[in-house]
Symmetry: C2
Subunit: 399 residues, 2 copies
């Protein structure tokens, strides 16, 4: 296996640190638009190569793949660049993995009840080509989507005879010292997923949308995190899980907490979430990029951060014994642990470990597949076992 990692930001750099402790690949090239950032990510890790790439150009990605005889491209940049990297990998004959899928566009007339272009639609539209070419695009293979999808498949295979609802629940209690407000993940991506119309799936009805940040509920997270306010958010799991797992309903709720929800509502109210440029004095800028520029880079906050982050899948239905059952399968990363072990803050480490586990399963042949597939298209057990072997076990709580 010869890997090209595109994107040496927080998640990319953490992925390098995790992969550096494994030996399932023959080559590992790390490319970024900023060559200095790529060099910084590979510094101190023997055998890793740094490169420069423009991720907005499929041709540039393909050329870099050919130059290094890449077999697998791992996309670790923000979802604006999914399609060129996905297409570039295809053009070069490589397999492809990402942690977020091609972007959605709201329904023009009824954005809060009907779906428009859905997350991943552009990628699934290419599924036939990938299948015909005998190559795999493993999409949504981070922590959420990713591990959350693996949990859904595990529940369907091993815990339930019938599933009423699969509801992803993500929350944490991370606090960053010295800042009034410091998101622990890319604010660009958080705004994107939180202010788009959230999507829900129901058997017999299919996919539909609702109001952003709607149906707040308090969820009690494990790992010492406790109660956090969760709201509906647009997320890939809702688009992926129903394609491979039999459930009556699939939802995603993000434990943003009241403060973050209020911030997002205010940004939207003021138009500061917009990506289209506005004229300011003599220049044009995207307001959302200005918001991101005003906040600290979340990848660099690990040593000021305390607390844990939890990703998990709440499954409700009928157990194998025919009785009602509700289970929360989850994975907690304590920031102190990830900083001590890997020098990465908890959220980016938790995102980065999963595609590396998946790459190793593909390298060993434990996972095999062609076409555009989600994590739930594969057997969950080898994934969960290997994740545990990486030193980061998952857990299960009966509700």
């Amino acid at each position: 296996m010869r890997v090209l990692l595109v994107g040496a930001g927080g998640v990319g750099a953490a992925a390098v640190g995790i992969a550096a402790r494994r030996d399932f690949y023959e080559a590992f090239v790390v490319a970024d638009y900023d060559p200095q950032r790529a060099r910084a990510a590979v510094a101190g890790h023997e055998g890793f190569l740094a490169a420069q790439v423009d991720a907005s150009s499929a041709a540039a990605v393909a050329e870099l793949c050919r130059e290094h005889a890449i077999t697998h491209v791992l996309n670790a940049v923000d979802p604006r660049f999914v399609m060129p990297i996905f297409d570039g990998a295809y053009q070069a004959g490589a397999h492809y993995l990402d942690m977020a899928m091609s972007l959605s566009r709201p329904h023009a007339e009824e954005p809060f009840s009907r779906t428009g272009v859905k997350l991943g639609d552009e990628q699934f539209a290419a599924a036939g080509r990938w299948l015909d070419a005998g190559r795999l695009a493993l999409v949504g293979m981070g922590v959420e989507p990713g591990l959350s999808d693996v949990f859904a498949r595990y529940a369907a295979d091993h815990l339930f005879s019938r599933i009423d609802e699969i509801g992803i629940r993500d929350g944490g209690n991370l606090v960053v010292a010295g800042y009034d407000f410091a998101p622990s993940f890319s604010v660009w991506t958080t705004i994107e997923e939180c202010l788009n119309p959230p999507v829900i799936w129901e058997a017999g009805r299919g996919w539909f949308t609702t109001e952003p940040l709607s149906e707040p509920e308090i969820f009690d997270f494990p790992g010492g995190i406790g109660e956090v306010e969760c709201v509906h958010v647009e997320h890939e799991e809702v688009l992926l899980i129903p394609r491979w797992v039999d459930a009556q309903r699939v939802t995603f709720k993000y434990g943003l907490g009241k403060e973050f929800i209020d911030v997002l509502k205010t940004l939207h109210k003021l138009g500061l979430d917009r990506t289209a440029p506005v004229r300011v004095g003599g220049v044009s800028v995207s307001p959302r990029d200005v918001v991101a520029a005003c906040l600290p880079d979340p990848a660099g906050l690990g040593d000021r951060m305390t607390g844990s982050t939890c990703a998990g899948t709440l499954v409700t239905g009928t157990g194998l014994d025919g009785r009602p059952r509700s289970v929360y399968l989850y994975h907690v990363v304590d920031n102190a642990w990830s900083m001590r072990e890997y020098g990465s803050q908890a959220v980016v480490w938790q995102t980065a470990v999963n595609p590396i586990v998946a790459l190793e399963l593909l390298a060993t042949g434990a996972w095999q597949g062609t076409g555009v597939l989600g994590p739930e298209a594969f057997d969950a057990v080898p994934f969960l076992d290997l994740l545990t072997a990486y030193g980061s076990p998952w857990q299960l709580r009966e509700q």
Copy 2:
């Protein structure tokens, strides 16, 4: 009297419409950085001249004054440009009026308890020169500061034997149809005054500061406006009134309402209130300018606006009869009225009418003075009478 109005924004354009109905001046030149905006402000008003000026240059302001033999400069741009216009008027031998004073800088170590550079300090530092030259700088002569200061002087002269507290209270119930959020006044200025440490004056203690947006209280505004949440805000009245009016305490509370207060807190938390440029992609922009660019221009919203705005002065103390008295002196402008009569929205019209009234009092000799003086340095009665004659009466409510 030969007037140079610097700034053809919302307030400047409204001032032209008001002055156009009076005949106390021989010349009225309207200058803006954008000559098109100056031409638009004078269009349809016979005898008004449009000009271009860089308000950040005292020399450019002085040159324009000399070119037109200006006797009085009226500053209607945002307070960043107070000092060059103030200095330019002085250099050209003109008198000067403004509606906001030179900017403050917080105390470096104890911003929320001690004053640093106060509003107007730079202007008052020049008071000796203006006095020696026999020329007048009438500072803070809009509605607030301005009319609110006139009310304070009126109360001291005609209603009270002893004043315990003079507390300005500003509020409205303006709603802009079609926008989630649309401030009715310059958001740049609103952020400046609301997020700086508010200043308070007390006899025996002098000026001191407190936390931004602190001590919320519900004030019941007249004119059909009703209850609005008011908080401490940095404002010129607190710096002006104690210099000429005897009171035990002077405060300013702005009826921002809960929604606006939350927006300001969020902008501050995210660093989006900052004026210092940040790098975004290949360009540098001031985050506060981006916020302003994302919101509609308040001057252009009059025909989508409904409701009224109220400016007033709450005075508490001992009446002339020796008994406790509390009075709210106020001025309400209904947006429907100001749009119908002048084509200006209520807030900018209410700001603009007061310096025109003051200019007319100076032209007729009813007001005379030299040095750097606030509105409360002059007899309030001719001002209030002339304001009423302009068709916009003030009122008094016993509390």
